[in-house]
Subunit: 352 residues, 2 copies
Amino acid sequence: MTPALAPSGAEPTTGLRVAILGATGAVGTEFLRLFETRHFPVAELRLLASERSAGKSLAFKGRNIPIEAVTPSSFEGIDVAFFSAGATRSREFAPHALRAGAYVIDNSSAFRMDDNVPLVVPEINLHAVGPADRLISVPNCSAIILLMAVAPLRKLGTIERLIVSTYQSASGGGAGMMRRLVDETKAYLDEREPEPNLAHPPYAFNLFSHNTAINAEGQNEEESKVIAESRKILEWPDLRINVTCIRVPVLRAHSQSITVEFAGSAPDEESVREALSRAAGVRVVDDRTANHFPTPLMASGQDDVFVGRIRKDPSHPSAIAMFAAGDQLLKGAALNAVQIAEAVIPALRTLV
Amino acid sequence: MTPALAPSGAEPTTGLRVAILGATGAVGTEFLRLFETRHFPVAELRLLASERSAGKSLAFKGRNIPIEAVTPSSFEGIDVAFFSAGATRSREFAPHALRAGAYVIDNSSAFRMDDNVPLVVPEINLHAVGPADRLISVPNCSAIILLMAVAPLRKLGTIERLIVSTYQSASGGGAGMMRRLVDETKAYLDEREPEPNLAHPPYAFNLFSHNTAINAEGQNEEESKVIAESRKILEWPDLRINVTCIRVPVLRAHSQSITVEFAGSAPDEESVREALSRAAGVRVVDDRTANHFPTPLMASGQDDVFVGRIRKDPSHPSAIAMFAAGDQLLKGAALNAVQIAEAVIPALRTLV
């Protein structure tokens, strides 16, 4: 019996002692729902957050779990810790959690490009996780959704280049940005001035270039992440890829317009549809007659990444264009993290 | 003195006798504002619409102008008619207006691809209008905004290919779609069911592939228009171009993520910025330090097409990526139509 299965209290139970760092965030609360719906074997649940949230509680399986302020000793006795509190907190607390013997599944960007840390989308590169790995990074949400739609096409030919424009939802900016979108929209409709917002351009019925710092090449941080992380996940350092990341007034699912150029001849549309239909975690919605294609609302609350508008790109002899939508909080974050735990932790591989 | 300047009543006035067909629509009402702000010399104004709107009136220069139901004889004595009531009405009434001797500036798709009808963005191809032309088509709004951002780059090199993803506003679907976006958003925020809407997917905090019929190549009508019209306006039947048209929950300006591939080497970013800064009708907003780039809100109510996020495309040896936003109702429709009239009608060329 592994330590993961040792009961932590008097009650004879099997399961994991689980911690969530960033429990009150937009991604954090999704973990609680996923643990229930996926029957994730939680023997003990520790909810960790900043001082600000300590003292509050969250409901889990009918019980109220108190939220504790995270400290270096918060991870004693924990089997797996899901981190979703930003890169600074991940850098500070991951070493403590690892020293306590926990698996750390990190949703932040802190370790993603670290050569010693696997960056994993389970459907694509689970093989990147070695038996000794205890720290595993969850990729950027836009990178996950893009690669879920693109990786299944590798068996149809050699992908030569990706050109991507995103339609990213508020949830990628956290619960605070979701609230701002709603509040600014209400103010607009009531013809009131919204609360001043210095973080980004007005959001009600508006969209804007991803509001992160621009580097010397003219890419914002989100675009740089998608480019670098796609190359790492696909194990393809020279992958030719450009991304334009735009924030749209949508609440919780990201969409993407994707052009895939192949070396040689492009696969026909039907082969693309079939490859995507067979891919785990992908759903093809591509009904031209009914004009029924992926939308962020359709993808919200759903595990799958939706792909449609599959067609030959008339501007290139061997390119395919398509449109994808995936829930940023689920496959883009919490679900991908839970799937990593389910696939990687030995005790879970037999339990689940 | 040309007939255009002949006074139509007793009052000694100079100016044109102007008709607007589709006066009550989202584009139609913009004409009235443009006539005032541009001091367009209107001697007489006839507002035409369907039977449904007849009897209402619209304010123009402090007077209420009655709206008349359009008939074949509505254009008697008219010098210039602006059509913005859809392709079916344009096909029906353009012959009557032309027979009455009027210039017809048509915002619909009815005649755009007709070899005998110039399709004009004045900053780009005014030379396409011959001295005998009386019927001139205004291009599709997305085509205008795209080409305003792209045409000035032709002097920097040979453009080889365009890859475009649009973020199109509700106004492109008319006043009715703008109302639906507002109504559905209010219903969502009030947790009410919105009025059922069979024309397109739910719109509150959602986006969707342009809801027009898909052809055998997988392109919707909007995409086909942008492709075909761009080729005609640029006089380049083989232009390699692909477009993905997406409707976003924004009220009145369209945005676009644009990749421009050049033959040979790409111009440097500074040359692109300079070429766009010098182009009439284009405003460069590209402040990386302040993260200040074009947004549809910024472009709303403005004549210029805004361009920014100008950068080398790292996935191609000679491509430039950029992001544009332009008011769909102004440069995308009414303004472009008025500019055509100002440039083409002989009486105006001396007057304005």
